[in-house]
Symmetry: none
Subunit: 195 residues, 4 copies
DNA sequence: TATGAATGAGCCTTCATTCAT
DNA sequence: TATGAATGAAGGCTCATTCAT
């Protein structure tokens, strides 16, 4: 494996296990069995390394979502599939997922916007499907792009509560996820007789 | 103002602005115009300081939510009010809100569980209202406590996307919030003719 | 118990258990359930506190030695008794004993010489007994005062090896002590036929 | 000179002059004209630095003792030579010597036992010589290994009193040493007519 | 592409001591 | 006699980064 990849992999684990503050160049170097200096041959500095990790994670999530809808089914079915995929990705590969949200907002400006094009594409894919559902009368939404964001946000909320371990110990994780997913989707569906 | 309060206030800003890792006792001391040592007269160490901040924030959110429903209205109305209050609190006082989620999960064990009783009470209040709505046939939920958590989680997702500045610049914040809120509530409502 | 005594007692334990470096005024205060400031009402500073501890210990050792020889027996017997007492005191009350040697030499000048008069008296008592033995032909020594110091020094060596845990684990402590004591005394005794 | 050696040398002085507690990494760095950080390139931490100093000192003492007996003479002569060498080493190079006893017993467990093998070898050399003297009828000892330890302990006592400046100002240092040495050796010698 | 040596800045924390009460 | 609040100094240590090789 190339050193670059090795560094990324080691960093990813460390980032998740110890948090950004305790992910140190030294420790990464030690874990990758190279000198600390060597990291700088591949990444300009710690921020760039983090950015590379983010890009990677975003790309993977995007790919997972894309792959999961292979043309089959109507808009609602696709939406459910996407929600499923999103939740599964986030919960099965928390490392990848969490990194996307790891950069603190006030540090975001440091990160070049064009790196987030990938994620925009995902939103647009979501918006397209929602728009499709709207036209078919299945979904009751106002603005599809906004809805894409609300959908993602709600799913992120579910994931976030679990990954940050704020879920009550009295509550079964799977039940929580199922119920949440149903409610979220329900919020998008056209009601026959509006309340 | 007491030094203790001054420290808490200064820390709170710093915690939000720079994150826990970069919130340093020295900087807090400097900002509060006291010696670094003095902080230790009021807080045993950095962790305890963070804990005090968390407790504070949780208490304030709990109070805001409690105050907002003053007996008026039916369950659905109360639920909408609570969602409103939650979002307003989080977005108007992001400092208070964010601190609640600032402790990274892997560091959670450091923090005594009993400090989170406060937050449990909030969940139980939510659950009670949801149960009330269920009995009145307004809300269609399975397990009220679980629903309390899914509600909170979805609201948190909305807040989280905004505060972490992941919202697309093309999207109007207010529109996003309104639409999100409607969808979330919609997910709880009993459908006349189930789809 | 007077606070002064309480402080002394607490300090003594702490001094032995943690060493001078880690015996802190704060910790002493905490252990004695008083404020750190209060210590300064009884002792000018940390050095004075240590000095008080030393004086105390020296006085106790001196007393133990004095008491042990109550006129009975000849000089050799007295010498053996003193050696016994010395070793027993040091090994049974290592706290008291070690403090006597705890002040580092380069810090000795800080400590007023007249505080060590007590210990001089002990040496003089030893010298007197040795002189008595010399006159009776039992002991073969050159200068009694010098001999008092060599005796003490050798005994101290034995104690020191034990207390500093440098004794080989293969060696039985009691055997070591017995053999050492015999050899030391033997070094003082007049040989019938000098070698 | 290599920085490692420079650090060791500077530390050694500081350790003796100020004691372990007041020997600070920063001060060592300053005295060696390097940054404090640089020390950590050569020694993992303060304890390891102390350990390196100890090992060094032990090795040097062991070597001095080994070298001093070059096969010549009988056991008694060798024993006297060793005592001489021991005392001279300790008093001429007090820094090297004192470090051997500088680690406080309660901190000993931190230090790996196998580092003290060197010193065991010295004891065994002593024991061999004593055993030789016993077989030749020159020395009257019970257990040679125990005797090796008592010999060392007695010599250490002499050194200790001098280095810790507890020797009475009325007493000539050289006289004290000579007399002590004679008495110690005397304690080992077979008495023609036992008393 | 890789490294060892080096560093300045910064970290959390503890300390002995003082001062006003 | 006692204290709570405060502090300057210092401690061990880790960090991201650079430079010469």
């Amino acid at each position: 494996m190339s050193l670059r990849k090795e560094i990324l992999e080691v960093s990813r684990s460390m980032l998740i296990e110890k948090g950004f503050g305790k992910m140190s160049m030294r420790k990464i170097a030690a874990a990758a069995n190279v000198s600390a200096t060597s990291i700088y041959l591949h990444f300009k500095n710690k921020d760039e390394l983090l950015l590379a990790l983010m890009e990677d994670s975003i790309a993977q999530l995007a790919e997972a979502l894309s792959n999961s809808i292979n043309g089959n089914g109507d808009a609602l079915y696709k939406l459910e599939t996407l929600a499923d995929t999103f939740l599964r990705f986030a919960l099965e590969r928390p490392q990848e997922y969490e990194i996307i949200y790891m950069v603190r907002p006030e540090e975001m400006p440091k990160f070049p916007k064009d790196k987030f094009q990938h994620i925009r594409k995902v939103y647009e894919m979501l918006a397209d499907i929602i728009e499709e559902g709207r036209q078919q009368g299945q979904l009751d939404v106002d603005d599809p792009l906004v809805s894409a964001y609300t959908l993602w946000a709600q799913l992120h909320g579910i994931v976030s509560v679990i990954l940050s371990r704020r879920l009550d110990t009295r509550i079964a994780r799977d039940k929580f996820i199922e119920q949440a997913k149903d409610q979220i989707i329900q919020g998008f569906i056209t009601q026959k007789t509006p309340v």
